[in-house]
């Protein structure tokens, strides 16, 4: 920060005692320490995900084939767009948070209120979006998928009547394999009489492929979502304290800075979840 941290002091002066050699208050330092430990937890989760992805590389589900829904849009596959929207919401709420911190440095109570309120709204929109994403994943596709027996799933695109896909018209059951190709008539007939149909995903089975993928999805986005939920609640409580004028009395808005660090951290984690879960 400006101020103490930018003051020109020699190493000897800094470490001679009677002051923090880091020019930081106790509360902010402890928030940083908490964030390091939390960051390591998330790193552990994402490393485990990457480990299993490499280990089961041959059968690992392809995310674009799973998360292609968009609210109010039917019959069109829009991979990545919805999660891009969620990412954007979180980035913008991070920006409003840093603007609240900046307003706090000017002791601008109304400015802090405005930006902190918008941050709470952004967090709530993100949580709602995540709830929708979860319910879409749990519910699964319209027809479900055949368990191919080799760890992969065959998406059932159509069950009766004519169906057009990629410029070709098919009759009756159409099954799409992991590599995007349509199953041959012989394979389709075999699947129809022998294979099991799976609908949606949970912790034990997954319509889109390995159940382990669903486990990681629920654990990682769920753990992150819990952070967002607690972040929204904490931001809201601090907003009430700002309104009461508590920080005018103390003379600084450091509490907003501390919850701000936590909120930016949530955005930071999502940046990595977005890359390692949805993009790569």
């Amino acid at each position: 920060m400006a101020g103490e941290a930018t003051k020109q002091l020699t190493t000897k002066e800094l470490w001679a005692g009677k002051r923090s050699p880091f020019s930081i208050s106790y509360g902010k330092m402890m928030m940083w320490f908490f964030l390091i430990s939390d960051a390591l937890t998330f790193t552990g989760f994402l490393s485990a995900l990457a480990f299993m992805r490499v280990y089961f590389a041959d059968v690992w589900p392809i995310t674009e084939n799973i998360f292609y829904h968009f609210p109010l849009v039917h019959h069109t596959e829009l991979p990545l767009l919805y999660v891009a929207f969620m990412t954007f919401i979180l980035i913008i709420s991070s920006v409003t948070m840093v603007l609240a911190v900046e307003a706090g440095h000017r002791m601008d109570k109304n400015g802090v209120t405005k930006w902190l309120f918008l941050t709470v709204i952004g967090g709530a929109v993100f949580l709602g979006s995540q709830a929708w994403e979860w319910s879409t994943f749990i519910e699964g596709s319209h027809h479900g998928a055949y368990d191919m027996g080799d760890g992969t799933m065959g998406r059932i695109l159509n069950v009766e009547g004519a169906f057009e896909y990629d410029g070709t018209t098919y009759e009756g059951t159409v099954v799409q394999l992991r590599n995007g190709e349509i199953a041959s008539p012989e394979l389709t007939a075999d699947l129809k009489s022998n294979a099991r149909i799976v609908h949606g995903a949970n912790l034990v089975e997954n319509e889109y492929g390995l159940p382990l993928y669903a486990d990681f999805f629920f654990f990682i986005t769920g753990f992150h979502g819990t952070h967002v939920l607690s972040g929204v609640i904490i931001n809201f409580l601090i907003l009430l304290r700002v309104r009461k004028g508590e920080f005018e009395k103390t003379g600084h808005y450091e509490m907003v800075e501390k919850v701000g660090l936590y909120w930016h951290f949530i955005d930071l984690v999502w940046v990595f979840v977005f890359t390692f879960f949805y993009l790569v």
């Binding site: 990457a50 840093v98 000017r106 701000g260 951290f265 890359t275």
Partner: protein, 121 residues
Amino acid sequence: MKRDDIIEYSLYNHHNEEEGVKKRKEIWKVTIILSVITIIEVTMGILLGKVGFLEDQATWDLIKIAYIGLTIVKAGYIILSFMHLGEERKPLRWLILAPYMFFAMYLLFFLLVESNADVKI
């Protein structure tokens, strides 16, 4: 008894309106950079879907490295600018980043070495 030898660091963090204008300009600049990187990532994700590279592992690896590079740039802007770590004293920066990087590299080591092991359960 109130101690008078403790420095209240938070009180030194204040700035006036003029500096505020400069800080806000910086915030909006970082916002634009983060948004542009996200747009690039999403465009790449839509145009270069993984399905098209199931057989071409080498190209896919390059795309993966590009994603990870962009993500690290984004993370850098969030940590250094939004969390203000870039403006803190150097010892504090190391105090926070060094332990994290040490343990993260430990995890990364096992990830890269063991996940490719020939022995499968």
